[in-house]
């Protein structure tokens, strides 16, 4: 792999080709992370010079009602969204892998929400969920039921998870399909000759062979879950600039870019990043323990 060793002038090309990436790493990624950590120890409204604030931005978080709401909402959202997305897209991929008639149509249909702007489709979901004359409530009242306040504080979590899962099934489906197609057909032929039932083939061949895809997809979906923003912004924003389901990203957006409390926003962003890093680390440890090769 990569056997060319740069000589003389080629070193210049090497640097030129790599320069954007190195700059991106140094400034865009790691530089920005360190800068955010620095900012999290300050109070800065961008109008007056920054003031040293010590740990106060962090110390204030546990007692901040809005941040607490955002923190628990984010965990609840991820706890529902990740398993739902992974399991449903796995089932869809298993169905598609049976090569039934219409497979191409199904694949396109399931992928459609994934390519569509969540903002635009989110507006459609606001209508589906609208309290007065919303699509769902009209259906419910037509069947004699009572209208539901889909986007109120008590129900918004589930409504928002449904919209987000709806938009994420396509991506997972493709990852699982690629995994399924890389399983050698002989495995199934041998199993069939030995008289293995369908569920046995699924349990002893398909699922173990899909372990790397499942690991990859779970990590990816978890990272996405903690950064979910678009549907939440469109569906749950309230008139006063808050949300019926504020998440950590929503809270960071509000503190940093609506109220320009940069130190507060940076501290929340640091906490969010730590949560994602710790979770990813846990996933990798679990994967090592169970010995699934990825």
């Amino acid at each position: 792999m990569g056997s060319l060793r740069p000589l003389g002038l080629e070193r210049a090309w090497l640097l030129i080709f790599l320069l954007p990436t190195l700059l991106g790493l140094a400034l865009g990624a790691f530089g920005s992370i360190f800068a955010s950590i620095g900012i999290s120890f300050m109070d800065w409204d961008l109008l007056t010079p920054p003031q040293a604030a010590g740990l106060s931005n962090y110390a204030g978080l546990p007692g901040d009602r809005l941040f607490n709401q955002a923190f628990w909402n984010t965990l609840a959202f991820a706890g529902l969204y990740v398993p739902a997305t992974v399991i449903i897209s796995l089932f869809v991929a298993l169905g598609l892998n049976r090569r039934l008639p219409g497979t191409t149509f199904f694949r396109v249909a399931f992928f459609l929400p994934t390519v569509s702007s969540p903002t635009a489709v989110g507006l459609l979901w606001t209508w589906i969920y609208a309290q007065d004359n919303g699509v769902l409530n009209n259906l419910i009242t037509a069947m004699g039921g009572d209208p539901v306040r889909w986007l109120s504080r008590d129900v918004a979590l589930y409504s928002v998870v449904i919209a987000n899962v709806w938009g994420a099934i396509g991506g997972g489906m493709i990852i699982f399909l690629a995994g399924l197609q890389s399983i050698p057909r002989d495995f199934y032929e041998v199993a069939e000759m030995d008289g293995a039932r369908a569920w046995q083939r699924l349990w002893f061949i398909t699922l173990p062979a899909l372990a790397p895809s499942m690991f990859f997809q779970t990590v990816l979906t978890t990272i996405n879950a903690f950064q979910a923003f678009d549907y939440i912004y469109i569906l749950t924003r309230t008139g006063n600039g808050n949300s019926t389901l504020p998440t950590m990203v929503f809270s960071i957006y509000r503190s940093g870019f609506r109220f320009f409390r940069m130190g507060d926003a940076a501290a929340q962003a640091v906490v969010l990043t730590l949560i994602i890093l710790v979770l990813t680390w846990v996933y990798f440890r679990l994967q090592k323990k169970w010995g699934a090769p990825a």
């Binding site: 090497l14 569509s116 493709i174 870019f257 890093l277």
Partner: protein
Amino acid sequence: MNATAKKRAVWGDVLAFAMLTFGALCMVGPFIWMISTSLKPVAQQYDMQLIPQTLTLENYPRLLEIMPIHRQLFNSFTIAAISTFGQLLTCSMAGFIFAVVRFPFRNLIFVLLLITLMVPSQITVIPQFIIFRFLGLYGTQAPLYLPAFLGGAFGTFLMRQYFLTIPIELAEAARIDGASLARIFFTIYLPLAKPALAAFAIFAFMFSWNDLFNALIYLPSNMETTTVTVGLALFQTQYAGQWPLMMAGSLLAVAPIIIVFFLAQRYFIAGISMSGLK
């Protein structure tokens, strides 16, 4: 296969087909509702008919009177096109170097790059916002496309994986003939990587076109210079309840990507599976 096993397999197929059909309806249904509503007069918006009683295109010109959505679509397109160019160029250059050239700290740099995949953009956007504001670029479109010229983990990884499938002997032979790294890249590797470039281009364009978070931060309020995603979000707060108009706007925002998706479906799918496992 014996007779009972065959019967079971058929029932499994029927069950799978029924579930896929139900799922596909849930996926496509909302889009059909969106199209249908955008073609209804506002007076009939609550009639719950899938096929409009009165077909009309009046919502589109009316939307234009309220909001310069044609400007916003153009802005989104410009930003997405420039971003895509920047990503294609810088990610394929880096991917080529990682795949073909041996140099000190190569693995370290590559691992650092992959780590950035786990870093949420909310932590990097805060200092970047401050810098762009300091540079006087707040409220312009530049902060939305300039970062695309600094590479990125997703694209670099994808291009590297593709370049690794090209036999290294090609590069070695070209070098013996006196070709420079730049020449090898532009005349051999880049032309061979067209499928990967196409897949990545579609993704880069889609991410930029659909982006709401960054556009909200940098172009929050000017209807003329902002993107279509922010335009729709602003429209939502001002014209709540005018569903046919809103659906007309939504349709205009999703249509370009969906059209490209239908035309280049296999590149979309290749892009995801290439990034996934190799």
